[in-house]
Symmetry: C2
Subunit: 600 residues, 2 copies
C-alpha cells in the first residue's frame, strides 16, 4: 500500500511541474518568477558548466536566458518525500539535460523557491562502469597470445607519457590529486599524477609526528572506497598515509612518484600544454590538454623577512619543515603564529619537554574538536547521521545546498552554542591574554576556512597549555628582529631561542602557477580560494563561490583542485565530469566566469 503524498510533497511536485513547464517553454522569466525574492540557485556543472551560484531572480533569469537552449533540461521528478527544515519545505529531485543526468535539492518558502541546488551526476553515454556494468575482468574463451591483466597494465604504464600522451596531468599526489585521479580513472580519462615524494601518502608521513587528521572519519572518506567501520575517528597521519598508498594501488592510478614538474607552458595554437617533468632523474615532456594543480590548499610557504635572520645560531624552520623528531628537552622554542600549525607544534614541543613560547600577532578563532564534531558536523557527518540514513553522498549534497551568501547565518547560532558550551576554556584563554575571535561576524571556523583558509585552531589539547601558561603566550606582538640566540619582540621583550618556527601559513595556490608556469599566467587566473566576503583577509567584491576552485579558470586548460578531504572527495566528481566532457568533445559552454579582482 502506497501512502498518498503528503501535502508538502504535493506542493513540491507542483512547483517542479511549473518549473519544468517554464523551462520546456524556454521562458526564463516565468522560471525566475517561481523563485522567492531572496533566492539562490547553485549549479554544479549541469546548466552552467561551472561551479556557480546565481543570487536573486534577475541573475537566475539571465543564466537561463543564456543556457536554456543548449541545456535542454527535462524529466524533473521529485525523489522521495518532502521534509521541513530551516522554515522551508525541502526535497530531493532528479532531472536530465541533453547530455547528462542530474540530482538536486530544493527548498521552498511560501510556495516559492528559496534555495535550489542542481548537480550533474553523470554524462549520458559515459557512465562509470559499476555494479551490473562492471568489467568482466577476464575474457572467457580462448585467445591466442592473450595478454593478461598484468601484461596489459604494465604495457599501458610503459606507454603513458611516452608513446601515448595523457589527456590530463595532475600536479600533486596528495589526497586531492588522488581523489581526482580516481574519478578520472573511472571515467576513462588518461591521466598521470605527478608527485614529488617517493610514496603516496608521504605528504602526510613527512609531517610532524604527532599530526592526526582534524576532521572526523565520516567527513574524510575517499571516493568509491570508504574506510572500514572500525577506522578511528581521527586518523593518525601514518595511517591515512597507508590508506592513500593502497588506494593508489588498488584503484590503479597512473601515479609517478619521485617526480617533479619543472615547468609547464600552454600553447594557444594547439590548445595543449608542454609539461616538463623530472621523473626520478629522467626528463620527460608531457603533452596533455588539461593541467590540474592539486598542490594542496597550501600554496608556497609564507616566510616573513625578519631582520637578523642570518645571525641566528639555532634552527629556523617554516612549520612545513618541522618534523618534531629532534631532541627538544629543555630547548627554548619560539613559535611565530597562533593558528592550527602553531598550536600543534607548540603542543608537540611541550610534550617533549621543551620550553615553548607562542607569538600571537593577531586574533585566532579556537573551537574544541569535540564541540565542532558534535555541533558543527554532527548533523551530516557522524555515526548518528549514518544511522539515520545520511550517506556520505547525501551529506555532501546537503552541505553543498547551503548558499555561501547566507552560510554564516546558519553557522552563527552553532558558534554561539559552542561559546556557551566551552565558556570556561574561552574565559581562561582570554585571561591568559589570548586574542580570541569567532570570525568577523561570529560565524566561526568553517567560514574562516572558506574565506581565508586560516585563522583558526581546532583544539585537540594545546589550548589548555595556552590557558594555563604552560605554553608561554605573547599576544599582540610580532618579532622585531632576530639575534644570535634570541628573538626581540615588537614590545622590546627578548626571548632566548634555540628553535624558531614560522607557523606563518602559505600563499595562495596560484603561487604554484607562478612557479611552475609563469607569473603572467598566475596573474591571469588570480587569487585562489576565498569568497570575497569583505571580511579579514577576504577582500571583496563578492565572488559567490571559491575563486578558481574545481572549475574553469581564465587560463584555458588550467584547473585547481584541493580543499579538505570532504571537498577533495565531493568536488573531484564535478571537475572530473568537466574534463571528461572536454575529452569527449561534448560542448561545454561556460556561463558566469568571474573577472579576476585579486592577484594573490
Amino acid at each position: 500500500m502506497i501512502d498518498p503524498p503528503t501535502a508538502a510533497t504535493a506542493r513540491v511536485s507542483e512547483w517542479l511541474s511549473q518549473f519544468a513547464s517554464a523551462l520546456a517553454q524556454k521562458n526564463p522569466a516565468a522560471a525566475a518568477n517561481l523563485f522567492a525574492d531572496e533566492c539562490y540557485w547553485r549549479d554544479l556543472v549541469s546548466f552552467t558548466w561551472n561551479i556557480k551560484t546565481l543570487e536573486g531572480k534577475s541573475e537566475i533569469e539571465a543564466m537561463l536566458a543564456a543556457t536554456i537552449s543548449g541545456t535542454q533540461p527535462a524529466s524533473w521528478q521529485i525523489d522521495g518525500d518532502a521534509t521541513e527544515e530551516y522554515g522551508a519545505t525541502a526535497a530531493w529531485f532528479t532531472f536530465e539535460t541533453a547530455v547528462a543526468r542530474g540530482r538536486g535539492y530544493l527548498r521552498l518558502k511560501a510556495g516559492k523557491c528559496w534555495t535550489l541546488l542542481t548537480t550533474m551526476t553523470e554524462l549520458k553515454g559515459f557512465e562509470e562502469k559499476r555494479g551490473a556494468t562492471r568489467a568482466p575482468g577476464v575474457q572467457h574463451g580462448v585467445f591466442p597470445n592473450r595478454k593478461t591483466w598484468l601484461e596489459r597494465k604494465t604495457e599501458a604504464e610503459a606507454e603513458l607519457g611516452y608513446t601515448a600522451q595523457p589527456y590530463c596531468v595532475i600536479i600533486g599526489g596528495g589526497q586531492g590529486g588522488i581523489a581526482l585521479a580516481a574519478r578520472l580513472k573511472r571515467l576513462e580519462v588518461p591521466t598521470i599524477v605527478i608527485e614529488k615524494n617517493e610514496r603516496p601518502g608521504d605528504s602526510w608521513r613527512k609531517r610532524y609526528k604527532s599530526l592526526c587528521l582534524h576532521d572526523p572519519v565520516w567527513y574524510d572518506h575517499l571516493p568509491y572506497l570508504s574506510f572500514p567501520d572500525h577506522w578511528p575517528v581521527f586518523s593518525p597521519k601514518d595511517k591515512i598515509a597507508d590508506w592513500l598508498e593502497m588506494y593508489v594501488k588498488v584503484m590503479e592510478l597512473n601515479y609517478w612518484h619521485s617526480s617533479e614538474c619543472r615547468g609547464a607552458q600552454y600553447h594557444d595554437d594547439t590548445n595543449d600544454w608542454t609539461v616538463t617533468v623530472d621523473r626520478n632523474g629522467e626528463t620527460v615532456v608531457l603533452r596533455p590538454r588539461q593541467l590540474v594543480l592539486a598542490t594542496g590548499m597550501s600554496g608556497v610557504p609564507n616566510v616573513p623577512k625578519i631582520a637578523g635572520t642570518e645571525t641566528f645560531r639555532g634552527t629556523l624552520q617554516h612549520s612545513s619543515q618541522f618534523r618534531g623528531d629532534g631532541d627538544y628537552r629543555g630547548k627554548k622554542c619560539v613559535v611565530l603564529g597562533s593558528n592550527n600549525s602553531a598550536h600543534d607544534i607548540c603542543a608537540a614541543l611541550w610534550e617533549q619537554d621543551a620550553d615553548v613560547a607562542m607569538i600571537q600577532r593577531s586574533s585566532t578563532h579556537v573551537a574544541r574538536s569535540e564541540s565542532l564534531m558534535e555541533l558543527g558536523l554532527g548533523r551530516l557527518y557522524s555515526e548518528a547521521a549514518v544511522k539515520s540514513g545520511i550517506t556520505t553522498e547525501t551529506a555532501d549534497l546537503l552541505f553543498a545546498s547551503i548558499p555561501y551568501r547566507i552560510m554564516h547565518t546558519f553557522d552563527i547560532p552553532i558558534y554561539q552554542e559552542i561559546a556557551r558550551r566551552d565558556a570556561n576554556l574561552y574565559e581562561r584563554l582570554a585571561k591568559a591574554g589570548f586574542l580570541l575571535d569567532f570570525g568577523d561576524d561570529g560565524s566561526g571556523l568553517f567560514m574562516k576556512y572558506l574565506r581565508r583558509g586560516s585563522g583558526y585552531y581546532i583544539d585537540v589539547g594545546a589550548s589548555e597549555l595556552v590557558a594555563d601558561g604552560r605554553i608561554k603566550l605573547r599576544s599582540g606582538v610580532n618579532i622585531e628582529r632576530i639575534e644570535a640566540e634570541s628573538v626581540v619582540l615588537t614590545d622590546g621583550t627578548v626571548l632566548a631561542a634555540d628553535l624558531i618556527v614560522y607557523a606563518t601559513g602559505y600563499g595562495s595556490m596560484n603561487g604554484w602557477a607562478a612557479r611552475l608556469i609563469s607569473q603572467e599566467v598566475a596573474n591571469r587566473v588570480g587569487k585562489c580560494w576565498g569568497l570575497g566576503s569583505g571580511t579579514t583577509k577576504d577582500p571583496g567584491p563578492w565572488e559567490g563561490e571559491l575563486r578558481n576552485m574545481w572549475k574553469p579558470t581564465q587560463q584555458p586548460g588550467l584547473w585547481f583542485h584541493g580543499g579538505n578531504l570532504h571537498q577533495s572527495r565531493h568536488y573531484s566528481l564535478y571537475l572530473a565530469l568537466q574534463l571528461k566532457a572536454r575529452l569527449e568533445g561534448i560542448p561545454t559552454p561556460v556561463y558566469g566566469m568571474t573577472a579576476v579582482h585579486h592577484r594573490a
Copy 2:
C-alpha cells in the same frame, strides 16, 4: 502505520515462543517435539562450541540435554517478516546465550521446524569496536612523551613474537590466513601470520599468468572491506594479489612474510605450542596457545610415481609449479589430469601455440562459468541479489542454512537446468571422448567441491578446445611410463613430450600437520575436508560437516582454516570467536566432536 503481522509471521512468532519456553524450562524433549520428523539443526558455535549439524529429533534432544544448562539461550525474537521458500515458511531471528548474541534462520513446514540455523555473532563484553565504538585514533589533550600511533605500532611489532608471545599463530598467509587474522585483530587476539612468500598475495602472483578467480566478485569479498563497485567480476590473479597486499597493511595485520614454519610441537603440560619459524633467515621460537593451519585447500601436492621419470629430458612439473611464462611455441605438452588446473593449463599452453594433450584418467564434471554464475550463485551472490537487498552477510547465512545432508537435492535441479542449457557443449565434449559426470548423484559442482575438493572444471574456455580437438584428449587412460622424450599411455599410445605437467591435485590438509608437526598428530586429527557422503573419493561414514574445518580437532590447540573466498570470509568469524572465547577464559564445552574415520 505498522501493518499487522502476516499469518506466516504470526506462525513463526508462535513457534519461536514455544521453542523459547521449552528451552527456558530446560525441556529438551519438548523442544525436540517442535521439529518435524525430517529436521536439521545446524549450530555455528552458539550452543555446541562447534560447527555441528544435528539431524533428526533424537540428535537435537541429545544435544540440548547436554548443553542447555550451560548455554542458557534466551530472548528469541523474530527479525522481519516471514517468507515462503522451498515449500516452507522461513524467517530470521535473533537470540542470546549466557555469553553471546546470535542470529539465525529457520524454516517451518506444517508448523514444525524443518531446518534451523543458529549462529554466534558476538561475545558479550568482547564486541568488535565499530561505528560508534570505534577507536578515537588520537587522545585529545596533552601527554608528555606521547607515543604516536606509528611509534606504538612499531614497538608492538618489534615485541610480538619476541618479548611478547602471540596467543595464536596462523601458518599460511593466503586469503584464508588473512581473513582469519583480520577477524582476530578486530577481536584483539594477538596473532602472527607466517607466510613463506615475500609479499601478501604472492601465492596468487606466482601462479600461472592467465589465472583469474573462478568465483564472481560478490562471492569473494573479504571481511570488513568489500571490493569497490567497479571491481571486475573475475579478478585477475595479480589484481587480487594487490588487494590482499593492501588489506594486510590497512587492517594492520601482524604478517611475517619470507617466513617458514620449521616445526611445531604441542605441550600437554602447559597447553601451548612451540612453533619454530625461520623468519627471513633468523630462527624465532613462538609459544602460542593456538595454532591454525591455513595452508590452503590444497595440502601437499600429489605427485604420481611413474616409471621412467628420471629418464625424462624435458620439463616435468606439478601444476602448482607451472608458471606459464616459458616459450611453448610448437612444444609438445602433455598434461596429466582433467580437472580445473589441467584445463586452465592446457588452455594457457594452447594460447601460446603449444601442441597440447590432456590425459583424462577418470570422469570430470564441467560447468560453464556463465551458467554457474547465473543458475548456481545468482540467487545469493550477484548484482541482482545485491539490488534485492541480499547483503554478503545475509547471503552467507542463507547459504549456511541449507543442511549438507540434503544440499544435493537443492542442487540436482540446478544442474539439470545447466545440462539442458549447455547441452550442445556437453554433446560435443562427449563426442570428443571426454568422460563427463555431474557428480555421482547429479548434484554437480559444489557438492563435488564439498565432498572431495576436486573433480570438476569451471569452464572459462578450455572446454571448447577439448570439444573440437584443439586440445588433444586421451580419456580413460593413464601414463604407464615416461621415456626420454615421450610418455607411454596405458593403452600403448606414445606421445612426444617436451613438457609434462601433473595436474594431479593435492593431498588432504592434514598432510601439512604431518610435515610441520608429526605424523602422529596428523593421524590423530585425521583427514580434512569431505562430508563422508559415500560418493567417489568421499568415503563414509557420514560426518554432517566438513571434517576438521573451522572447529576443534582431536589435537588440542590445533585448527584448520581455509576453503574458497566465501568460506574463508564467513567461517573466519566462527573460528575467531572460538579462539577469542578461549583467550578470555570463557567456558567452551565442545559438543559432538566426531571420531576420526580416515587418516588421509
